[in-house]
């Protein structure tokens, strides 16, 4: 587990929303999905996951509904709102610019 990286503050919102773009999910599943999709490279701390979910919901980018989980328990399923989809686009673009910039800088120095 030591070669796992904690998700950078600020990119977590983007990761959550990108994950939710596929299908509505509950909190645990989001964390699992991020971990699996990143080939176990990225780890989401629960301590930041739930505050982030609530913040995103509060900002109106995702919405929550109660539904049944895989083990048939009541679970809060989050999905992207219309505004959220637009936000993902914008954030992705921003992220690409940032990572290109950082990569270029790291390679040339």
């Amino acid at each position: 587990m030591s070669d796992q990286t904690d998700v950078l503050q600020g990119t977590l919102d983007l990761l959550i929303m990108r994950t939710l773009a596929l299908e509505p999910m509950h909190g645990w599943a989001i964390a699992q999905r991020i971990q699996q999709t990143s080939d176990e490279l990225l780890r989401v701390q629960q301590g930041s996951l739930y505050p982030a979910l609530h913040r995103l919901e509060h900002q109106g980018w995702i919405k929550a509904e109660w539904g049944a989980s895989e083990n048939n328990r009541r679970a809060r399923f989050y999905s992207l709102t219309k505004a959220g989809r637009k936000q993902v686009e914008a954030e992705l673009e921003k992220w690409e610019r940032l990572s290109t910039g950082v990569n270029l800088l790291l390679q040339r120095t």
């Binding site: 509950h26 909190g27 645990w28 599943a29 964390a31 699992q32 701390q45 629960q46 301590g47 930041s48 739930y50 505050p51 982030a52 979910l53 609530h54 913040r55 919901e57 509060h58 900002q59 109106g60 989980s69 083990n71 328990r73 009541r74 679970a75 809060r76 505004a83």
Partner: protein, 908 residues
Amino acid sequence: MRLWHILRSRLRSIAFRDRRELDLSEELQLHLERETERLQAGGLSREEARLHALRLFGGVEQIKEASRDARGTATWDALVRDTRQGLRRLVRDWRFTTAAVLILALAIGANTAIFSVVNAVLFRRHAVADPDRLVNIYQNGRAGTPLVVTAYSTYMEIAEYTDIFATTMAASVPNPIRYLADGAVRDAVVEYATADYLDTLGLRPSLGRWFDETEVRPGAPLVAVLGHQTWNRRFRADPSIIGRIIRIEGLPVTIVGIGPANHRATFDVGLVTDFWLPMTAIPPMMPRPGRRDTPTIFAPLFVKARLRDGVTVSQARAAMDGLGRRLEAEHPELFRAEGEFALGPGMTVLPSTDVRIHPAADTPFMAIASLVLVIVGLVLAIACSNLATLLLVRGAARAREVSVRLAMGATRRQLVRHLLIESLLLSLAGGVAGCVLAWWGMRALQRVDFPFRVDLTVDYRVLAFAIALSLVTGIVFGLAPALKATRVDLLTTLRDEGLQPVDHRRLTLKNALIVFQVAVSVLLLGGTSIFLQAAAAGRALRVGYAVDGVAMLETDLRFAGYSESEASRVFDELLGRIRAIPGVESAALLRGLPMEVNGVAIVVDSGDGQPGSTLEAAAITAAPGFFDTLRIPLLHGRVFDVRDRADAPRVAVITERMARQYFGAVNAVGRRFRSPNDPNSWTAVIGVVHDTGTGDFDDDVLDPVGPVFYTSYIQSGALPTTVIARTFGEAAPLVAAMQRELRAIDITLPVMTAQTMAQKLAGSLAIPNGIATLFGALGGLGLVLASIGLYAVVAFTVARRSREIGIRMALGARSQQVVWSIARGVAGLTGFGTGIGLVLLVLVMLVMRAGGGSADIGIGSVTVYRPSIDPVGLLAIAAVTALVGVAAAFGPARRAARMHPLVALRHE
């Protein structure tokens, strides 16, 4: 859209807080379970998996807290929690709370009360339709600045400009008047107005109608419109008052309407007008004999006009300037004259929204109002710094609690918020209590039957003022103590407090606050002394006429329905009866009250045929027997007697001062003077009497008038109203005896004034005395507040130093030494504060002396009293302050000195 979403989400979070909490728990619970299941699938036992999941998960409560934070409701929740805790705490410390709320209530109450007066005078807006289409028109004076009032003849000219103004109105300055209601004669304020008055203002009567054109013709039956507030107050809003006849100045007047509900007066300074009468009612209503036959033309008027549609203010201004030039060409004599009616170039036209009182008076009035607010503000400042002292002391006493909270992980921000909320709660409670106090005080004030009434209703401005005051107080004066209280050294405070070093610094916040409070109290007490001095100076003036044993009785036979011939017979009988009262030496009939001055302009005959210049003088109404009754010595010539009938040539008795100043010789008998308005009104001087102080002391001290002359009311053709009499004995029983004689003649005759000369003089000192009382109350309040602050600081110091005191006493220090060591600190603070206060006070006095004489307030000048810097008075103030300071320190210091060393040592 997004804003709405956030708002809704926040509102929902607040509204469904409990359900949200449950949801959050359930959500996190599910996460834990899924994680446990995952780990179990990886081969761990159920118990191991659960523990591992929990460990991975971290603090459940912390996550909850962070999630709440993310919703933005955490602050709200914390606020609710802090408020609840603060309230509990304040209820528990009820002694502290009561003291603090009381302090604030007194200060905020005083401020709110004063502000509501200022509000009524300066801020409350006039209820007028389309105020920007309404213009005020003023005739200009010599300097080209607007005069206070405009002549009737000019109003008539202005009203001709119908192409500029849709309607034009004029209303007189408010006049005192008396009317009969419920069997009592009451004082009232009347305005004389034109028929277009209400239409020009764009208002409607709340009942009945305004008087019409036929009723403003000379000789028409008298009608009146009753002010709405007076209708409510005096006539219990009885609608049947319309059409009823009431007696005003003894004359029957038909009430034709009730004024608009929110219209108080034309000259809107908060004064309430009781009646509006037609302009033509001025001659019959004029109470002053000298002015009874004054043509209406010289009635001082305010002129307002409503612009025609499409006409701009500058067009109106141009038209009025043209009128001003024309008047100057037509009446050059008016533009050459000097004094009250000296006219100058052009006219001033201003939208009514730009004027509050008068274009030239608004700024000085604002300045005066600000000064008054600053003075009561000082009391508030004392109270606030006091609250700050109390909070500081309390904060220090709570150092341990604060450090425990900090140690438990509270952030400094949270603590400051917590403490601030407490002080805000305190100040809001103080604000509410202050409003109640102010409201109660003003109600008490409104019940007093003044001859005039100020509309002091509390409106939103007053309330907003009080609330803002409390909030600012709470934040500004709670913040510093809160910041200080949370800056604690955790280790020292948590350990036994005993070893904490004693704070020997002199310049602490606490000390500065105390010094400030003492200094301001001294300043306020100094203000009291200045006004007491002014009142005493008034009393000490050489009166120059008999006061002891002199009594007066005023009635008005018109209220009892007597005709003129009957009335003079009744007065002759009354005079005879009063002269027959045992002990009466001398008595005389008079109109009005004795020694009341009336400023007038005169032109003196220089004897060489040249038109003299206009001079200021003051007239006092006299009569045969007057000088004898008041023992005013005659120097030359004679006083009034039976020869000076209404149809005889006009004569006057002048004072020594007038003779010297205006005629150049003490013996001015045979010389003459006249009114500047009437070239044929020559009045011959028949005698010269000794100078006197006038009836109104404040006229001398605060508002001196020109040289005085006397005229006889009989020559104005008016009836007497008053009997004055002098007795060998006491004046008070004579007043009662005179009333008995009046009732013996006719029980229905109203008594308008029945008092001794001494009472009348005391009445004229009411204003300086009243101001001195106000200052005294504020200064006293300030001193009480400052002493509370001193007490708190000393008590706190003693508590902090109890261990040190115990050690000292255990080592053999005597209790006097202990008391002395504490008293030294208090004496230093009090002395320093008193010193600063005295220096400021002397500075204020020096400024008043330098600027003494008169101050222009735009619509006239007031005389500023020039205080003398009296070392005894200053010493007395210092002594009182020092005494209060020592008294405040004495209790806690004594307690410290009496402490048993062992107890003191164990004291925490």
